[in-house]
Structure formats: C-alpha cells, structure tokens
Amino acid sequence: MVPLSYYLLLSGILFVCGVLGFLIKRNIITIFMSIELMLNGVNLSFVAFAAHWHALRGQIFVFFVMVVAAAEAAVGLAIIIAVYRTRETLNVDQVNLLKL
C-alpha cells in the first residue's frame, strides 16, 4: 500500500526535472526529451488518480497523451532535421532567426 501523495510527489519531481531541462539545456534534441519527461510525469499522476478513484477512464487518457506524444515526437524531430539542414547546428542559442 503506497499513499497517493507519494505518487503525486514522484510525478511532480519528474515534471519539474522536465521543466528544468527545458530551461537549462541548449541542445534542441535534449530540450525535446525534457518535454517527453514532463508528459511522463503527467501520465504517472493520471494513472495514480485512476487507481485512487477506481476510475479506469484515467488510464484511457494516458493513451491519448501517448498518442499526442508520439505525433509530437514525429513532427518535432522532423522540424529538428529541417532546422539542422538549414543552420547546421543543434544549439538553440544559434537558432535565433525566423528566416535565414
């Protein structure tokens, strides 16, 4: 038996790590991975609440989050490839112009 708040704490820690990575990392791929980390933290709280309230619908939302994450990963990585092709760098500090 694990208290619900432990799960929420773990979920919060993961989310905060994701936010931190998003803010401090400079590699565009790592920034993208931080977003995935945030999504994972939210998924954990979805599943924990689903178990807490005996509502299976919470798990359904995890699937929708995963679908959106997969779509986001596909489009985002394509954008990263396009950015690398035009600028030949992955450092977000050097990607500061909308149009070359």
């Binding site: 038996m1 790590c17 791929i29 359904i60």
Partner: protein, 188 residues
C-alpha cells in the same frame, strides 16, 4: 510493505534517471537515461495495477519514441552540447525559489491531500475493460486521434523531405559530374 519498497526503489531509479538526463552533456546519454526513466515508470504503473498501460509504456515510449530520438541523434551526428553562461541573478533567486516551492508542494501533498493508500490490483486494469471504454465511450476521440496521427505523419514527411529545388540542384550536379552513370541508370 513490499509494494512500498518496490515503489521507493523504482521511484529512486526514476528520479536518478531524470537528474542524469539534466546533467549529461551528450544527447545520447540523455536519451538512454530517459529510457531508464520510462522503464522504471512502467514498473510504477504495474504497481498501480495498470498492466496494459505498463506494456504500452514500454512498447510505445521506451520502444518506438526513444528509437526515433536515438535515430535522429545518430542521423544528425549530435555532439556534446555547448554550455552558455546563465545569469547570476537567475541562480541566486531561482534556486531558493525552487526549493521553497518544492517544499511547499511536498508539504501540501503529504499533509493536505486525503492520502488514502492506493490498493494494488484493486481495480480492473485488464485490456478487456480498457478496450470496452476506449472503443465504446471514447470512440469519437479515438477516431480523432487516428486523424491526428495521420496528419502528424504527413507533416513529418513534408518537413523532413528536402526542398524540391535542392533535390533538383543535387541531381543536376550529379548528372553533370557523371552523365554516363545516370544514363546507364535510366536504361535499366
């Protein structure tokens, strides 16, 4: 008791992986620590009685999405990231602020939330019940997500394909460099 120990062990692995993601400087190390985070989260889902979610987590997240990441990292030959100096004020104000906010949130969660322990395996999490909800109550959102995936795939192909002008130029240069090769290719 066993569940608590398992939760703590895999939660610690999870947090360690997340922190390792932040501290590593090479993207491939970050990607592998993200795989660790996702795999240990799958164990947490198992502890919560969500077997199907755990399986999907391993297959989709730790499998498909992370393979995509690793593929892009290797494709672009990403190296060690360069650090930029952050501002001193951000460190001075930000770190205490984060600590205070974290302690507050942890205190509220531990004391104020009606924290009944989560019983393990008390809820039906088997694929049959999930499928009944997913394909009955949530049929419309399910179909909409399939359209979303479709659009995402098309968008990824459009974004990642090279612009037409570049392809034409490259093929023109190739035919100029080796016209007999291109001609031989056309015959077949």
């Amino acid at each position: 008791m066993l569940h608590l120990i398992l939760f703590l062990v895999f939660g610690a692995i999870c947090v360690a992986g997340a922190i390792n993601l932040l501290t590593q400087r090479h993207p491939i190390d970050s990607a592998l620590s993200l795989v660790v985070v996702m795999a240990s989260l799958a164990v947490e889902y198992l502890l919560l009685g969500a077997e199907f979610v755990a399986a999907v987590q391993v297959i989709v997240y730790a499998g498909a999405i992370m393979v995509l990441f690793v593929l892009v990292i290797m494709l672009l030959n990403a190296g060690v990231e360069e650090r930029t100096k952050g501002s001193r004020i951000a460190v001075l104000l930000g770190v205490p602020g984060v600590v205070i906010a974290g302690v507050l949130v942890a205190w509220i969660l531990l004391h104020r939330v009606n924290a009944a322990p989560v019983p393990i395996g008390a809820q039906p999490g088997d694929p049959r019940d999930i499928a009944r909800i997913l394909f009955h109550d949530f049929l419309l959102p399910f179909e909409i997500t399939s359209v979303l995936i479709m659009i995402a795939i098309l968008g990824a192909v459009v974004l990642a394909s090279r612009p037409e002008a570049v392809v034409k130029r490259a093929s023109a240069e190739a035919s100029k460099a080796a016209p007999e090769l291109v001609g031989a290719g056309k015959e077949h």
